[in-house]
């Protein structure tokens, strides 16, 4: 790791102010993604702001019947939370499908949303990667891209967002609450939070420099059967090739997908259709596949079939 200085923040506003004072800084929460990348010198912050002591580790009902999840709530605790298990089971299921018991004990809600791609060339500092080094090229386009995106890609980057939790958050229409150095707060709908790569794949979210996530809020629960189905190369402790989050209930059906794009993928128009064939065709309209990852479309169709049979 490159040397860095370290300080602890005691309030969210103070954390955001610390970040504004030192532009080459990063917040550190669980550290399970950031430290991994710092060891490889893919991330090289000069200053770390430890947010672990902030009072942001509670899950509380909101007055409109929803749930407010503090940015520091650990993935294990969120998955095991009684209200989440009962009313937002798809979120429990998505969290439990990710990483390992040890990692989920450490990983936080905010850190999970902000985890970076698992594209093999992003990790290989000897190869060009526009996300790691803007303007250097994309080694994945002509390389190993079996696991990479088929929707919303660009000439610059075909990486996927690796989070399971984020797919459930997208399904549930979550909203990301933040605070900035000047004390201003805002709520960003999850649909607008993660960005498509376009010409700037190094810009991954709508967060402004130094903006701190304080919570993720969920609207009132959606009735129906909650399912999260993840397809991967081994049955545990592996990232998704594709995943489907679904709620099927009396008021209709909704789906969000992982492993397809640079952000959790959702096509609301497809939710009016019936059957895996029609839904898959609508969800993957305009797909750009490579010979290696074209399998994701039939895999998606079959996985949706299984989800609909289960729901």
């Amino acid at each position: 790791m490159k040397p860095f200085t370290y300080e602890r923040a005691s309030t969210p506003a103070e954390a955001a102010a610390m970040a504004a004072a030192k532009p080459a800084s990063r917040f550190i929460a669980g550290g399970t993604n950031l430290l991994d990348l710092m060891k490889l010198q893919i991330e090289t912050p000069q200053h770390l702001i430890d947010v672990n002591r902030l009072d942001l580790d509670r899950v509380e009902p909101t007055k409109d019947g929803g749930l407010r999840i503090g940015a520091l709530v650990r993935n294990t605790d969120l998955a095991a939370n009684k209200i989440v298990r009962r009313d937002y089971a798809v979120l429990s299921r998505a969290l439990l499908a990710g990483a390992s018991g040890q990692l989920r004990n450490k990983a936080t809600t905010a850190g999970n949303l902000l985890q970076r791609t698992r594209c093999p060339y992003f990790y290989d500092t000897t190869k060009p990667c526009n996300k790691r080094k803007p303007g250097s090229g994309c080694a994945a386009l002509g390389g190993i891209n079996r696991g990479l995106a088929i929707m919303g890609t660009s000439e610059a980057c075909i990486a996927t967002h690796p989070s399971d939790m984020a797919v459930a958050m997208r399904l549930l229409d979550a909203s990301v609450e933040t605070v900035s150095a000047d004390g201003a707060t805002r709520a960003i709908p999850i649909a607008d939070f993660h960005q498509l790569p376009g010409k700037t794949p190094h810009i991954e979210t709508a967060l402004r420099p130094g903006e701190l996530i304080t919570a993720v809020t969920l609207p009132a629960p959606i009735e129906g059967r909650h399912v999260y189905r993840k397809v991967r190369d081994r049955a545990s402790y592996a990232f998704a090739l594709i995943s489907v989050a679904a709620i099927v209930g009396p008021k209709g059906q909704r789906f969000a997908f992982g492993g397809l794009a640079h952000k959790p993928w959702r096509v609301e128009a497809a939710e009016k259709l019936s059957g895996p064939d029609a839904i898959t065709a609508s969800v993957t309209l305009g797909a750009k596949t490579t010979p290696q990852n074209a399998f994701k479309i039939p895999l998606l169709r079959r996985t949706l079939g299984a989800v609909l049979a289960e729901a």
């Binding site: 370290y6 550190i28 294990t76 009962r86 390992s100 040890q102 990692l103």
Partner: protein, 167 residues
């Protein structure tokens, strides 16, 4: 940077470069070499320790982030003359070959049984509210601990023994 860790019940004051991981603080500074470094990237579980009652990968966290925290390592679970039941069961059931992954496996296994008791669900729990011991539950929950020697079936038997279940 001044950092205080409560390791296996003993208060340790260290002056650390902020880059020091908890794993390196334990091994290089406190000479508690029971905890192992495998991948150093959160992928193998050899570095698993129990911090404030929860198992984590000590390679993916900084020691300075744990100022004041209580940490339990394999050395704190039991001693050669007075083994923890999980350590004893690993010996009885041959739950290892080379032994490199074993401290992490044992720390993880001890925490897994606590997680089952606390009703924490897993990916294979059919009902998120009814958590019970089963082979599938243990296999899933232990998947963050890799054993290159492939001692998995004996590791399962050791855990089942401590849980009071038939393997």
């Amino acid at each position: 940077m001044q950092t205080t860790l409560k390791v296996n019940g003993k208060t340790e004051r260290l002056d650390l470069d902020p880059r020091t991981t908890l794993l390196d603080a334990l091994r290089e500074h406190l000479h508690l070499t029971g905890t192992k470094k495998g991948c150093d990237h959160g992928q193998c579980g050899a570095c698993t320790v129990i911090v404030e009652g929860k198992r984590i990968n000590s390679c993916l966290t900084l020691a300075v982030m744990h100022d004041g925290d209580a940490i339990k390592t394999i050395e704190g679970l039991g001693t050669p003359g007075d083994l923890h039941p999980m350590q004893k069961a690993f010996v009885t059931h041959d739950g290892y070959q080379c032994g490199y992954c074993t401290p992490g496996q044992i720390c993880s296994a001890v925490a897994v049984l606590d997680e089952l008791k606390a009703g924490i669900p897993s990916h294979v729990s059919a009902d998120l509210d009814k958590i019970a011991f089963s082979r599938d539950e243990i296999v899933e929950r232990m998947s963050g601990n890799i054993c290159r020697c492939g001692a998995y079936s004996n590791i399962f038997e050791a855990i089942a023994d401590v849980a009071g279940e038939k393997a």
